[in-house]
């Protein structure tokens, strides 16, 4: 029971009054910036970094980490209420969250995402407490070929993310992949599709892309259809906020699957919360017997991605702290913050800095409980956002989007990129070309290309490298099955009927 002793020591650190205070500041700030579209954890943590230089390292990391996971709580609020994702990890929550709000269930959606966020986060914290040493080793099993295989599988799954034509979904995935090519090719150093523009040499900014496609396009198309009437919302009572028993029953299996997917994505360096939420949504749609209902406001469509992105931000600390491998750019900044304080994460960190590691783990619990306590009562207030007159609201949204995109690199070039994608996104919305698969293609495309070329270099050109390990072989099989399933409709129908029969016979297990 060494773990319990450690955890006790950890809580002794996390419950010091200054650590509680900074944890509170961090998660509150995280919720706020998550709520504001465009401004994400990355730019906030980067901007806060200098302030923490003269703080105790444990306190500093507790606060900065709080911003990161707090943002995941806040991010879904804007997705649900305004159909504009607070961070790119919440983009997929728009698909069912906003329809729920339109159906008068905004309060339920907000309550449900808060609860699933808490469950997802808590699960990963438990994994972190008990499995960190084993998981750190597991992450090393993933080489170039494994990353390639898993990214291809993700991409195929992504084409069915949205409602409507799978063909259009797949076409948008490819557009996303192509947009991901822009900039310097890591493998050769050659600049591709940058048209001589220096700012494009690191590629397009994902925040500018997401805010153009989801934020500006949403505001614009709303205004195009707007004839002057305010949003109608019903009076919000606490009764109308609470999910029904049916909601809980429907969303529980999704929450569980979402948190497992999210936890795995967090552990794998390079995956991160955005991929986690997309994957969880795609998996739900696959698992559902009524995939056609997705996109109309089903609870499964918000529970899974929100459990996933919160699980992934917590589990992302595992490789960061125990291997010194930052899973994504936010983790890289946090790693930088540790290094500034002379703490170099690695396998010895847990032994050499127990007060930091266990104090941080304990603070995650504290932070998640604060977030739960903070967010649930505030739902009534958040829903009031819809009462703000739309003419003031859309202007404020435009402002926050602009400032958020600017803060990524302190470069106005990204504002113009966002403007361009706002125009593209508006026409995509009008013509029903889905933006969510595009965004996922943009994230996974570079992963696929880089790892494919790297794997072929490492294998000296042997293609068998993509099927000769257990991980790659499994992914290859899953990819082929998914592809056949999506595009061979007779077979899909057949399998669907077979599944129906099977799950009917399993109906008593309670997983329906």
């Amino acid at each position: 029971m060494e773990i319990l002793t450690n955890l006790e020591a950890g809580f002794a650190v996390a419950l010091q009054w200054d650590n509680i205070l900074f944890c509170f500041i961090g998660v509150t700030l995280g919720t706020i910036i998550g709520l504001l579209p465009g401004i994400g954890a990355l730019s906030t943590i980067s901007m806060l970094l200098p302030i923490t230089f003269y703080m105790d390292p444990t306190t500093a990391i507790i606060m900065l980490a709080g911003v990161f996971y707090g943002a995941q709580y806040g991010g879904s609020t804007a997705s649900i209420l305004l159909n504009i994702p607070g961070t790119s990890a919440n983009a997929v929550t728009c698909l069912d969250g906003h329809p729920m709000a339109k159906n008068g269930r905004a309060g339920v959606a907000l309550a449900l995402t808060t609860i699933t966020s808490f469950v997802g986060g808590s699960f990963s914290i438990l994994v972190m407490i008990f499995l960190t040493p084993y998981i750190a080793r597991f992450a090393l099993e993933f080489g170039a070929a494994e990353y390639f295989s898993i990214a291809v599988f993700g991409l195929i799954a992504a084409s069915t993310l949205s409602r409507g034509s799978a063909l259009k979904g797949l076409a948008m995935v490819v557009v996303g992949v192509l947009l991901g090519i822009v900039g310097m090719d890591v493998n050769s150093g050659v600049q591709r599709f940058n048209f001589g523009i220096l700012e494009l040499s690191d590629g397009l900014s994902i925040v500018a892309l997401a805010m153009g496609l989801f934020g500006v396009a949403e505001i614009l198309s709303n205004l195009l259809r707007y004839s002057g009437e305010p949003y109608k919302i019903d009076k919000v009572t606490y009764a109308s906020l609470m999910p029904t028993r049916q909601d809980i029953r429907d969303s529980t299996p999704s929450t569980v699957r979402g948190m497992l997917i999210g936890c795995l994505c967090g552990i794998l360096p390079g995956a991160g919360p955005t991929i986690a939420s997309f994957m969880a949504y795609a998996a739900e749609k696959r698992a559902s017997r009524h995939p056609e209902r997705f996109g109309t406001g089903v609870v499964q469509g918000i529970a899974a991605p929100e459990a996933a992105n919160n699980a992934s931000v917590q589990s992302a600390f595992i490789p960061t702290l125990s291997l010194g491998i930052p899973g994504d750019s936010v983790m890289a900044v946090l790693l930088g913050a540790l290094i500034i304080h002379g703490i170099v994460p690695g396998p010895t960190l847990v032994l050499e800095q127990p007060q930091l590691f266990w104090g941080l783990v304990a603070s995650f619990w504290v932070g998640n409980i604060i977030l739960l306590a903070l967010n649930l009562p505030l739902i009534g207030l958040f829903v009031q956002i819809l009462r703000i007159p739309y003419d003031a609201l859309y202007i404020a949204m435009l402002f926050f989007i602009c400032i958020g995109v600017f803060t990524i690199r302190n470069n106005v070039f990204d504002i113009f990129v966002m403007l361009g994608f706002g125009l593209v996104g508006t026409f995509m919305l009008i013509a029903r070309f889905p933006a969510a698969p595009l965004l996922l293609g943009f994230i996974l495309g570079p992963m696929i290309e880089e790892n494919m070329r790297r794997a072929l270099l490492l294998s000296r050109g042997d293609w068998l490298t993509f099927v000769d390990s257990p991980i790659t072989a499994t992914c290859a099989v899953l990819s082929v099955v998914s592809l056949v399933w999506s595009f061979w409709s007779p077979l899909a129908g057949f399998i669907g009927r077979a599944r129906d029969r099977r799950s009917n016979s399993l109906g008593s297990t309670g997983f329906d």
Binding site: I45, S46, M47, L49, P50, F53, A139, L140, E141, G143, A144, M184, D185, V186, N187, S188, G189, V190, Q191, G196, L198, E199, S201, D202, P269, G270, L323, G324, I325, P326, S329, A332, V333, L334, L335, G336, A337, I339, I340, G342, V344, P345, G346, P347, T348, L349, R409, N410, N411, P446, E450, R454, L457, L458
Partner: protein
């Protein structure tokens, strides 16, 4: 302290007349870091900024302008007013641009006034644990017995880290397959997992893996052993002559900045580099240099030619 800088600020606002070199500085000085916040370069710049500001009598503000391997920030400073209020904190990468980004309209000698090569961080050679060798000579022999079979991981094609490793390979005459990754931490992960056999990086990134015995640190790229880990031997001790491999960090101002201001900045930096917090940060990865402006200019010139030659021989574009 806070009071003093407040008064200084207020005074600056009142007397912000024409810029005179002898009055400099009358307002806060901005140092542009051409990389993202939180990275190794940014960290170092921020630690130096506080004592630098104290020595100047005006706060020094760090501004991150990342992009294109540092070229975006460098270009921003080159276009700024040469009044000493906008400076660049740069790395040896400025000597690589002419080779790897020939389309870039970038000319260090034409665009910048060197101020000081402030600190350097030696590259450390690290290899995978799965290789049956424990020292540099053993590794070189092993690589010569297995030409083309070992993998060299780098944080990207055409990065200064790759070129440093290529210089080493050329100098000792070994043939390793270059496999680019998207960043140093990805290379380290792959080396740890055994996917990559050979890498170079500064000690800041490697420390965790070296301490945890997950990779073997074979040599440090400077003439003397380093304080951060005196157990790592030098090249010369192991029979490799004639090369030094180190990343370095320097300050520069836009071309046309008055000589007096450059001199003032150099003096203030010398003062800042004596600060204990700065020393602690620098010595975790290398050593303080504190050069003259002329020495920095010469270093950049020398390296421009060096990397062009190394890249050509290695077949990098």
């Amino acid at each position: 302290m806070i009071r003093r800088s407040f008064i200084a600020l207020a005074t600056a606002a009142f007397f912000a007349g024409p810029v005179m070199a002898q009055d400099y500085p009358v307002r806060p000085v901005t140092v542009v870091v051409p990389y993202t916040a939180g990275g190794a370069t940014d960290t170092l710049a921020r630690v130096i900024a506080t004592p630098f500001g104290e020595a100047l009598g005006q706060p020094v503000v760090i501004e991150n302008r990342a992009g294109a391997g540092g070229a975006v920030g460098a270009e921003f400073v080159a276009r700024s007013d040469p009044d000493g209020y906008t400076l660049l904190f740069h790395t040896a990468t400025v000597a690589v641009y002419p080779t790897t980004q020939p389309n870039l309209d970038f000319d260090y000698a034409r665009d910048f006034e060197p101020i000081m090569l402030a600190t350097r961080a030696p590259y450390v050679i690290a290899i995978s644990n799965k290789l049956p060798v424990d020292d540099l000579e053993g590794f070189i022999d092993y690589a010569k017995e297995h030409p083309g079979e070992l993998n060299h991981g780098s944080p990207g094609a055409g990065t200064s880290t790759q070129l440093a490793a290529e210089l080493f390979k050329q100098q000792v005459g070994i043939d390793l397959l270059h496999v680019p990754y998207g960043g140093s931490s990805a290379v380290l992960t792959a080396t740890r997992a055994g996917e990559i056999d050979f890498m170079v990086d500064t000690y800041l990134g490697l420390k965790g893996a070296v301490d945890g015995k997950d990779v073997k640190a074979l040599a440090v790229g400077t003439a003397k052993r380093q304080a951060f880990n005196p157990d790592i031997p030098t090249f010369e001790e192991q029979g490799v002559q004639g090369i030094e491999l180190a990343a370095w960090f320097a300050f520069a101002a836009p071309k046309g900045t008055p000589k007096e201001i450059v001199a003032k900045l150099n003096t203030a930096l010398h003062e800042a580099l004596k600060n204990p917090k700065v020393l602690e940060t620098v010595e975790a990865q290398g050593e303080v240099i504190g050069s003259t402006p002329e020495e920095l200019g010469e270093q950049v010139n020398m390296e421009i030619d060096l990397w062009a030659k190394v890249a050509k021989e290695a077949g990098v574009n």
